[in-house]
Amino acid sequence: MKIPDILKSRVFAFSLLAAVVLISTPLGARASLKRASNNVEEGFYNGVYIEDGDYTSGSIASYLSDASRAALGLITIGTNHAELTDVTDRMRTAREDLLGANSIGDKYAAYHTLSSAFDSFMSIVSDLSLTDSEGESVEIYSELFIQSREAIGRNPYNSSVQNFITEVFQRFPADIIASIFSIDAPESFGGNT
């Protein structure tokens, strides 16, 4: 079969090259931006690498797991006291939600509720007369929860997300690529700012 002359022309060759470049460049940029965004979100599960100190921080996910364990311990104590029934149910529900949450935003919402329920629990339990064993358990589990909460508050994950959004995501051409291909910025633990 004879190849048409038009296909052998330089004009066609350059046009084809331009088309390939114009199509592949944004697709490649999209893949890169998505990959970079996912890498930032990985810091929530695996910790954030701190370049200055050459170490990786603890992950928020692991601290949430500690908080969940502490909540479970307190729940078992709360089931033995009628005064703690309501707040124990709240803690139980919040812990269930935390265990079942898939997105970082949902995890934050559940954690926020759990933290609030924990504070209510501690304010009520301080007025109750507990057995020595219960008292010791409350002390240990509450300490674990508070340590987890403090560690989450200090965690550099949200800073890394904010830096990425400011330095990369909201700048040209990432902002255009993100709007064209509907790429979401990484979720911070506490909502995007």
Partner: protein, 299 residues
């Protein structure tokens, strides 16, 4: 009136009993095995007791097995943590609690070993050594396999155990895992795409070899040895050029003429071408007596 009062009193007593029954489970006289469901054989129970003598002696740890009929409305993880704390199981201890009727339950561990035995590890051990047999009603096998695996975990984590009081317990070696046939099958399934590519390549090579042999057979000369790299370049891939024109007829008769002599080179005029072919040894601390709060299993 008296009847009403009595009924109310009875209802209150029953209500209180129901509320407190859930966590009113007392350990058996053996302590290490509480088989409320009555599904374990005496030999399994004694094996667990012997194992615990070594665990207590070597690691100040306890492996507690609790089998009940129903959890009721209580989550298995809350039940386990409550039980662990109520029974004051050692901080290096492990508690397995499971419902034979509801087929749920799990493991909780003491606060001292929670960091090295996380929930993911608990679930892993249960899935590998416990649930299949437990769901099938093979309770002795389920408990024995899991307890042996957990004993081996203690040895891996804290070093070899010293023998127990009577030295009679000798845990079996770690499970051999799948059989040779199963391992081969797993290998094939994991690498199926490589095997398919290799198989297709083999077919192509065999077809090319057949073509190679036809080529030389057509030339009427002995067939040289075939090598697989001929797939990319070989004498049988080069298109045959047009036949060379016939040479002039040799003169008839006459004298002095020399007959046509063919050249010393072989037929064809082209050479064959070159060819080139799977714990941290944390310091051990005793005491604690409190569940770490973690739970692995079916809530």
């Amino acid at each position: 009136m008296t009847k009403k009062l009595f009924s109310c009193l009875l209802a209150l007593v029953l209500l209180f009993s129901a509320a407190s029954t859930v966590f009113a489970l007392e350990p058996s006289s053996d302590f290490y095995v509480t088989d409320e469901s009555g599904v374990l054989s005496r030999s399994t129970i004694e094996s667990i007791i012997n194992m615990n003598s070594i665990l207590e002696n070597s690691y100040d740890a306890q492996l507690i097995i609790v089998l009940i009929d129903y959890f009721g409305d209580v989550y298995a993880d809350e039940y386990a943590v409550q039980l662990f704390n109520d029974w004051q199981i050692s901080g290096n201890g492990i508690l397995l609690v499971a419902s034979t009727q509801e087929k749920r339950g799990g493991i909780t561990v003491g606060s001292e070993i929670e960091s090295v035995f996380p929930d993911s590890t608990k679930n892993d051990y249960l899935n590998r050594y416990f649930w299949d047999d437990f769901d099938a009603g093979n309770y002795d096998e389920a408990v024995t396999n899991l307890s042996n695996a957990l004993f081996n975990w203690y040895e891996d984590e804290f070093g070899p155990a010293s023998s127990g009081i009577d030295g009679s317990y000798a845990p079996p070696p770690a499970a051999d895992g799948p059989s040779l046939g199963t391992r081969i099958m797993y290998f094939i399934l994991r690498n199926i795409y490589i095997i398919v590519i290799l198989f297709i390549f083999l077919i192509i090579v065999l077809m090319d070899r057949a073509r190679y042999r036809v080529y030389y057979r057509g030339m009427g000369i002995p067939i040289p040895r075939y090598h697989f790299w001929y797939l990319w370049h070989g004498p049988h891939h080069r298109p045959r050029g047009p036949r060379p024109p016939r040479g002039p007829r040799p003169p008839r008769g006459g004298g002095g003429g020399r007959g046509f002599r063919p050249s010393g080179r072989g037929f064809g005029g082209r050479s064959g071408g070159g060819f080139g072919g799977r714990s941290g040894r944390s310091s051990f601390r005793g005491g604690g007596g409190r569940s770490g709060g973690g739970f692995g299993g079916r809530r």
